[in-house]
Amino acid sequence: METILNILFSGVFNASTLFLVAAGLQVVFGVQKVFNLACGSFYALGAYFGIVVVKSFVAGGFPKPLFIAPLIGAGLLLGFIGPIFERGLIKFVYGRDETFQLLLTFAIVMMIEDVIKFIWGTSPQTMGGIDLVYGQLNVLGATVPVYNLIVILCSLIIAALIGYILLNTKFGRIIRATADKREMSEALGINMTLVYVKVFTLGTVLGTLGGALVIPATAAVSEMGVELIVLAFAVVVIGGLGSMKGAFIGALIVGVLKSIAISTYPELEMLTIYIIVIAVLVIKPQGLFGGARV
């Protein structure tokens, strides 16, 4: 029972950050129709930047348990690179063949990986177990780090927030309208440029925030973006491209499966995930929640 709970909790923890990155991927794909491979790189940048901010926060003599605030701040702040990439590169390939859009984001992946190596070097970076400051909690015999629960909670709040924004605000309605019919929304007087910048920034923030939140519990390595993007890719394929609900369910499936596989048959860890991805693509290429808009 305890082990099952442990597996489940670590799975949901995986899922919570995975969801953020995948949600970033989805929102950009939904509106711009660009499959952004660089989402994983934004995640890696968020992680490294989070380490820098938290370390200087602690070095500045602030109380350790408050580190979550600057961490989230770092994730949000780093979102400013979104408009830079959108205006500087991505905007040139709207309306071009998907192949070229994909390749352009691949170029960004290559560049960011080296930027990280240039700034932070190749050795893994950690926060030195700062997440343990919150201690551990006993849930029905299973010990769960409290920090992980906080991350799960944050992720749920963000998910609810995205849901609220998409369904109940003007911006959300514009996003959904654009995802549905771009020309029509443009004809109705919506400033597309602005929407694109905002949406891409949202996608970026979700990635950087995901990276910042996950990093106290693990170590940052320069390849983490390249590794995560294939997981996020699995999530969106299983959930359905462009669907937020899909990202949520997909992240849960991939996250929990991953932790089950790790604790039972480590050899099969990623193998099962890819097999599911292929199975989903073959049986229902639009994914579990495909067809439903953002």
Partner: protein
């Protein structure tokens, strides 16, 4: 007797240029350094892979982001046959690599060609990563992340284990690989200019119309997938003895990205584009890597530039310059 005009007509000039380039490439070992030869050798292996890849990408319009899978199949075939089964005949390795990769490509292709564009790219990426984790996790079979050693194969039945390694690679193996490249390039030329190749182009430009005209779109895409898979496997099998060691990194999705990069760099709209891209990529990478460890950044910037400004690649830029020249006259 041929008239002088006939000999110097445009088509013949092109053939002469190719022959001269071919002889030049063949003659490189006579005067160039061993290292340069070695780079050329890697280029030959990649050239075979990308020229097959472009049948799928440039001619059929399908972007595979997992094509390194087949290259890896070829490379591991060489490693298994030489290391575990003591089969050292290169010809046997190539035949087995083609058979295995064709079967695999037929299976994977049967699933993938039902989709196009982004879904096709994603499916192939998923298969590539599936194979990657397979190689990584089943280490008792594949050596895991350390990979496997590749022994020196016999060429045309000759046991060449007496010669020093670099001499073997830059002389005998160099010529061997080059001849295979020339043959396969010629075969590919025949394929793309055959009715089959024209059908592929028609499918790329307008699948509905092609289907309407009686071309079985999926079947032709499937054929193209198998052929390009077999080409990649030959490239991989030839690359393996040159690098001497194969590891799962060969099938990681970024390596597939490298193949796309090479093709785009040279120009996917031109038959020889991928070859140009391959040679430029390999030599540029060597140059940039010797200058800075951050070569990926520079290559990323080049790729971004290509995508935004010059999607036709080097061949595209050159041909548009030539056209401009002609217009000005």
């Amino acid at each position: 007797m041929k008239t002088w005009q006939e000999i110097t007509s445009l088509k013949n000039v092109k053939i002469w240029v190719l022959i001269i380039i071919g002889l030049f490439l063949l003659g490189i070992p006579l005067f160039a350094s061993q290292f340069l030869n070695y780079l050329m050798l890697t280029f030959f292996a990649y050239a075979i892979t990308v020229i097959g890849f472009n049948l799928l990408f440039g001619y059929t319009g399908l972007l595979s982001f997992g094509h390194a899978l087949f290259m890896t199949v070829g490379a591991y075939t060489a490693a298994f046959l030489t290391g575990k089964f003591s089969v050292l005949y290169m010809e046997a390795i190539l035949v087995v690599a083609v058979i295995i990769s064709s079967i695999l490509a037929a299976l994977i292709g049967a699933i993938c060609v039902r989709y196009i564009k982004i879904y096709f790219a994603m499916l192939t990426l998923a298969f590539g990563m599936l194979f990657y984790t397979f190689l990584l996790k089943f280490y008792y079979l594949t050596g895991g992340d350390e990979g496997m050693r590749v022994l020196r194969p016999y060429l045309l039945g000759f046991n060449l284990s007496e010669i020093p390694k670099m001499q073997y690679l830059t002389r005998s193996y160099y010529i061997y690989t080059f001849v295979i490249l020339v043959i396969l390039t010629f075969v590919m030329w025949k394929i793309v200019s055959s009715p089959f190749g024209l059908c592929l182009k028609a499918i790329r430009d307008n699948p509905e119309k092609a289907e309407y005209l009686g071309v079985s779109v999926k079947r032709y895409r499937w054929y193209a997938f198998i052929i390009s898979g077999a080409y990649a496997a030959i490239g991989g099998a030839l690359l393996a003895p040159a690098i001497g060691q194969v590891d799962p990194g060969l099938t990681y999705w970024t390596h597939s990205g490298t193949l796309v990069f090479m093709t785009l760099l040279g120009g996917f709209e031109n038959f020889f584009g991928p070859l140009i891209g391959g040679i430029v990529y390999i030599f540029l990478q060597d140059k940039v890597m010797s200058l800075t460890t951050y070569w990926r950044f520079i290559f990323g910037a080049i790729l971004a530039f290509l995508v935004i400004v010059a999607p036709g690649g080097i061949a595209g830029v050159v041909s548009s310059l030539v056209k401009k020249e002609k217009r000005d006259e």
